[in-house]
């Protein structure tokens, strides 16, 4: 491992070593490993174990962001993933990451972070003017204006610039990602006390257990709270539990791994942050990894999130969650301020006040909104010299770039009104707690609906929809002892249900505190902006406005005000917003309900979701047995589905530019037509069909008859879908008594196979037919051209290939270069031609043998372009015509249909819409001027001068810019009336290029109409 320091560019070397807000001792940080970093260009030092947030606070940096809409100054608000304010741009170049939560970034040497959504900088952000316009910029204001000239596109330009937050890079990401598939009996999500207890209970039973923890270490809240277990600091218990878990072979503990989504089939998806805590991933390591956990039982021990209190100007830098303040002093040994006030509606306030003063922070007051507060805890606080103000509230704050004081006043028991004079108290830290909301996110993802529990004034898990149970704070039990008991019970239950003998584990004793329930306080009286959703600048006033305008369902509230739609997905704000709406509606919260949590639990990078299936590996690549030969001989490849096929072959001195490849294509066509050429047709689908009923089966699949086909003969066939439209075409040969060899188009190879399997397995299981795809078994090459027979004769071993011995549509077996070969005398090109199939490993051998045998006749390899031109010249239908919308009759193939049998598609092909005389039919098209090409995709019309909408007669389905054989462009198409209009002219319109070509309707077979060459 390289030492951290060696990573540091000298400019980053510490200029200001001291960390003014760092405590002398304590905290889970490594003071021996100082880590330099920069924020907005200034260099600072933190320690290993810090987050960016704790390191910034240690250095006294409090203003870290500007809010979304009003650009209000904002500070660090939390110590976890719920952070609404402190979003920064992390790293640079291709590794630039906008909107990254400072509170979850593990500090590393050389870390670079920038604030975002401000200009020119945080202190003098010109967009602050928005704050002045805030009276206008209320929720949904943009729906009410910007409708007039110059039009929305004009206004939008500015709105969009102002909206958004971080800036996305357009540079490619240098890091890589991958995916893992895992299975386990019990998956425990969350590594706090409840999760640890669950993993222990299940693990000891021998079940396959995996424990996921999003942060860098186990412990959960225990890392931040000064809890004791069995008389010792709680973290000692965590460490011993961790040791035991590590010792169990059937248990896997994964830190830095967030379960982000709970999907069907009890599958949980997670992202492992493999290298995010490092400056760059080590060699061969990925940055992040996607995990799929296919589980039998799930325990959700995801904890709870503390929520703010809603009072005037509750957003200033220096205001933070009480649990966060405790994290900073206890876990990071950082003072988030020097002079604190604590404001809570629950017992958390006392623990917080005590922890803060223990950390040397002057706690000027503990404000408990509950009338009477909690006397037992009050005694302790006062013993520590902390003044407790019960039945009171913070009704406002002062300061701009940072908090400098708060206004406190007594409030009525129902919390709705101020009952006495306010007084001002100076402080630079205000720790607030409005209670806790269980993290029911994954529970919701699984399809379940959380229910409201007045006891904690929050939503707790409802009836599970999948094999899942929540435990600990996630289930609404907040006392450590309960969390441990609950977790252990959940773990034991999960293993037990799977047949493992799991005994409940004995939970260590906890320190008991005289707990008193919270008293919900949703909105503190007083005037001023009261922020509900800090990230999206949604205020209590906005919620009330939404109510006034009729957006009273929580779903409309959310969408109208954008409450809970930010990167934190309302972790801290939803419940407050919904409660304020409930109050406005005068209905209980359970009646008003809540919005749905959707995956991911916290935002997830695109990278791991794409894994390695990107770039060149977006889809696997399929190569024929002759691929390397093609590459060595100048082939330019083209994608045909997943296959790579030679498009044409360039010769020395030729570039892949139009003039050159046009020459190559023409060369390949003329070479073949005049002499002999060879093309790789291995990609055609090939299906081996055997069984007593094979002929009957083919008879049902194809529209034409198969009973009469003799062994050693091939036949062309057309398949329809049940709806009567053309599905696929190809030749099938009879190679044995009950043995057939079918070919399909390259595009439909897979579809035809499944189609046949469906009929055999579902509709006609009584047929004795066995099929298997042999596409990959056979390398296939088509040898075409007047000289092809000579070439073949020279290559085959002991086979008479004369016209008599091997007539058109004949099939023979032989060997070439010692390899078994099946020779089909069939032709796509319209020339005398043979398709030769050999076992794939011999493909190149035989190809080279034929090339060698053909050398004397000037054999030329040809690609898909030349092949396409020749099939167009011959009027064969292909992809352009078989587009799923054509009938056999449209394509002039109806005559093939047998009237003496039933076959797939027969019953629906006669519907009036499919036999309508107005349907375009297959024809050939030649330019009247004899030189201008009618491109594929042109629309055929009667009169080019008709203004839109122009009546359409059909379209051009395939076209050759030049038929080297005929010396002019030719096209195939479908036109109303079809061959009945032979000789007439129509216009091929290509307005996309301002082209209009007058074309004459002709026979689609342009070449060797009588098929003499085929039969030669």
């Amino acid at each position: 491992m390289r030492s951290p320091r060696s990573l540091i560019p000298s400019v980053l070397l510490p200029r200001r070593a001291e960390q003014p807000y760092r405590l002398e001792e304590g905290g889970a940080i490594n003071r021996l490993a100082p880590l330099p970093f920069t924020f907005d260009g200034t260099s600072y030092n933190g320690y290993q174990g810090d987050t960016l947030a704790s390191a910034l606070l240690a250095n006294g940096v409090r203003l870290v962001a500007r809010s979304f809409k009003y650009h209000r100054p904002r500070g660090i608000y939390s110590a976890g993933p719920e952070e609404p304010n402190a979003l920064v741009e992390l790293r640079s170049g291709g590794r630039h990451e906008p909107n990254t939560r400072a509170t979850t970034i593990e500090l590393f040497a050389g870390l670079e972070a920038k604030s975002q959504n401000r200009w020119p900088d945080l202190t003098l952000d010109v967009m602050q003017v928005n704050a002045l316009l805030s009276p206008v910029f209320v929720a949904g204001f943009y729906y009410k204006t910007f409708m007039g000239l110059p039009g929305w596109r004009f206004y939008e330009h500015f709105i969009r610039k102002a909206a958004g937050m971080g800036i996305g890079t357009t540079l490619a990401d240098p890091d890589s990602y991958d995916k893992m598939h895992a299975h386990c009996d019990v998956l425990v999500v969350g590594g706090g006390p409840a999760g640890i207890a669950a993993a222990l209970a299940a693990g000891r039973s021998g079940a396959r257990v995996t424990l996921l923890e999003e942060s860098d270490a186990l412990g959960g809240r225990l890392r931040s709270d000064r809890e004791t277990l069995g008389g010792a600091p709680a973290m000692a218990w965590v460490r011993s539990a961790e040791e035991e878990l590590d010792s169990l072979a059937n248990v896997t503990v994964m830190t830095r791994t967030m379960g982000f989504g709970y999907y069907d089939g009890n599958v949980i998806a997670a992202v492992e942050r493999v290298s995010d805590h490092l400056a760059t991933p080590p060699a061969f390591a990925v940055r992040q990894r996607l995990w799929h956990f296919r589980t039998k039982r799930v325990v959700l021990a995801t904890g709870a999130t503390e929520r703010p209190l809603v009072f005037a100007n509750n957003d200033r830098p220096g205001v933070m969650l009480a649990s966060a303040a405790r994290s900073y002093v206890n876990r990071f040994a950082v003072q988030p301020g020097k002079r604190a006030v604590v404001f809570a509606n629950n017992d958390d306030g006392y623990a917080t006040a005590l922890d803060l003063s223990r950390a040397g922070i002057a706690v000027h007051a503990l404000v408990d909104s509950r009338p009477g507060g909690n006397p037992d805890l009050q005694v302790r606080a006062e013993a520590a010299g902390i003044e407790c103000l019960t039945g009171s509230a913070v009704i406002g704050t002062r300061g701009y770039l940072a908090l400098h004081s708060v206004d406190i006043a007594p409030i009525s028991a129902d919390g709705r009104s101020v009952t006495g004079n306010a007084f001002n108290l100076s402080c630079d830290l205000l720790a607030v707690s409005g209670g806790w909301s269980p993290n029911v996110h994954l529970h919701s993802h699984s399809g379940a609906r959380p229910v409201y529990d007045p006891a904690i004034a929050g939503f707790v898990p409802g009836t599970p929809r999948q094999a899942e149970r929540s435990a600990g704070a996630a289930a609404g039990s907040f006392a450590l002892a309960d969390c441990l008991r609950d977790g252990a019970a959940a773990g034991a239950e999960a293993a037990g249900l799977l047949g493992f003998d799991a005994k409940p584990i004995e939970a260590p004793v906890t320190e008991l505190r005289g707990a008193k329930p919270l008293v919900a306080l949703w909105q503190v009286p007083g005037s001023g902006k009261k922020f509900v959703d800090l990230q999206d600048d949604v205020t209590a006033g906005d919620v009330e406005l939404a109510h006034r305008e009729g957006y009273i369902s929580v779903e409309h509230l959310k969408r109208y005000t954008t409450l809970g739609m930010g990167t934190d997905q309302g972790k801290t704000s939803n419940i407050n917003g919904h409660a304020i709406m409930a109050e406005a509606r005068g209905e209980p919260i359970e009646a008003v309900g809540t919005t749905t949590f959707r995956p991911p639990y916290n935002p997830v990078s695109f990278g791991p979701l794409g894994g390695r299936d990107i770039g060149r590996h977006f889809a696997p690549t399929r190569r024929s047995a002759m691929h390397d030969w093609h590459a060595e001989n100048g082939a330019v490849f083209v994608e045909a589905g997943q296959w790579l096929r030679p498009q044409y072959y360039l010769r020395d001195g030729e570039e892949n530019v139009k003039s050159d490849f046009d020459r190559a294509i023409t060369r390949e066509v003329t070479g073949t037509r005049a002499g002999v050429g060879m093309v790789d047709v291995s990609t055609l689908g090939k299906i081996d069909v055997q069984g007593k009923d094979a002929a009957e089966f083919l008879n049902r699949l194809y529209i034409n008859g198969w009973k009469t086909l003799a062994v050693g003969r091939a036949r062309y066939g057309i398949m329809l879908r049940d709806d009567g439209l053309v599905f696929d075409d190809g030749t099938t040969s009879r190679i044995g008594e009950n043995h057939y060899f079918m070919t399909t188009t390259t595009a439909n190879a897979g579809a035809v196979m499944s189609h046949m399997e469906e009929y055999l397995q579902i509709h006609w299981p009584e047929l004795d037919v066995k099929i298997v795809s042999v596409t990959e078994q056979w390398a296939a090459m088509a040898l075409a051209g007047p000289k092809s027979r000579e070439v073949l004769a020279a290559a085959v071993e002991g086979l008479d290939v004369s016209n008599e011995a091997l007539p058109f549509m004949g099939v023979r077996e032989t060997t070439i270069a010692g390899a078994f070969a099946r020779v089909f005398r069939i032709s796509f090109s319209g020339e005398l031609a043979y398709e030769i199939n050999v076992p794939a490993d011999y493909g190149r051998l035989v190809w080279e043998r034929l090339m060698e045998a053909g050398a004397a006749h000037g054999i030329i390899p040809y690609g898909t372009e030349a092949m396409a031109i020749m099939r167009i010249e011959k009027g064969h239908v292909a992809g352009g015509e078989l587009d799923g919308r054509t009938t056999a009759d449209d394509l002039g193939l109806a005559r093939m249909a047998s009237s003496r049998k039933d076959y797939i598609g027969r019953h629906m092909m006669g519907r009036e819409g499919l036999t309508d005389a107005a349907r375009p039919k297959f024809v050939g098209l030649v330019p009247v001027d004899g030189k201008t090409r009618a491109r594929a995709g042109s629309i055929l019309v009667a009169d080019p001068s008709t203004p839109p909408p122009v009546p359409k007669l059909g379209h051009v389905s395939s076209s050759a810019y030049l038929s080297p054989t005929l010396g002019h462009p030719i096209s195939l198409g479908l036109v109303e009336g079809g061959m009945a209009r032979a000789g007439e002219t129509v216009w091929a319109m290509y307005p996309l290029r301002d082209e209009a070509v007058e074309v004459r309707i002709v026979d689609p077979v342009f070449y060797d109409k009588e098929g003499e060459r085929l039969h030669a």
Partner: protein, 96 residues
């Protein structure tokens, strides 16, 4: 990930299968003289229920068998699987 219990291969991701559709549709007999209406019903018309649904999947990445699945279209819960001709109605579970 919906998990389907292939009678041959066991519990597998639905990603290994290709979805064919409503299993209650019976193709009119080959060679029979089914009416145009029967064909229309077979090819185009679907019950499309909201709840238990018997459907055909092909284990295309596995044994290639076609299987019948009883799945709740509202909850995605799979309550039974079998061979194409098995009748799974009545095996609908809690979700429905």
């Amino acid at each position: 990930m919906i998990r389907l219990d292939c009678p041959y291969c066991g519990l597998r991701d639905h990603e290994e299968f290709s979805y064919i559709g409503d299993a209650t549709k019976r193709r009119p007999a080959h060679g029979g003289e089914a009416s145009a209406e029967e064909w229309f019903d077979y090819v185009y018309i679907r019950d499309n229920p909201r709840g238990p649904h018997q459907e055909i999947w092909q284990h295309i990445q596995g044994c290639r068998a076609f299987i019948r699945v009883l799945r709740n279209t509202l909850t995605h819960e799979v309550t039974a699987t079998g061979l194409p001709r098995d009748d799974l109605s009545g095996k609908a579970g809690v979700g429905s």
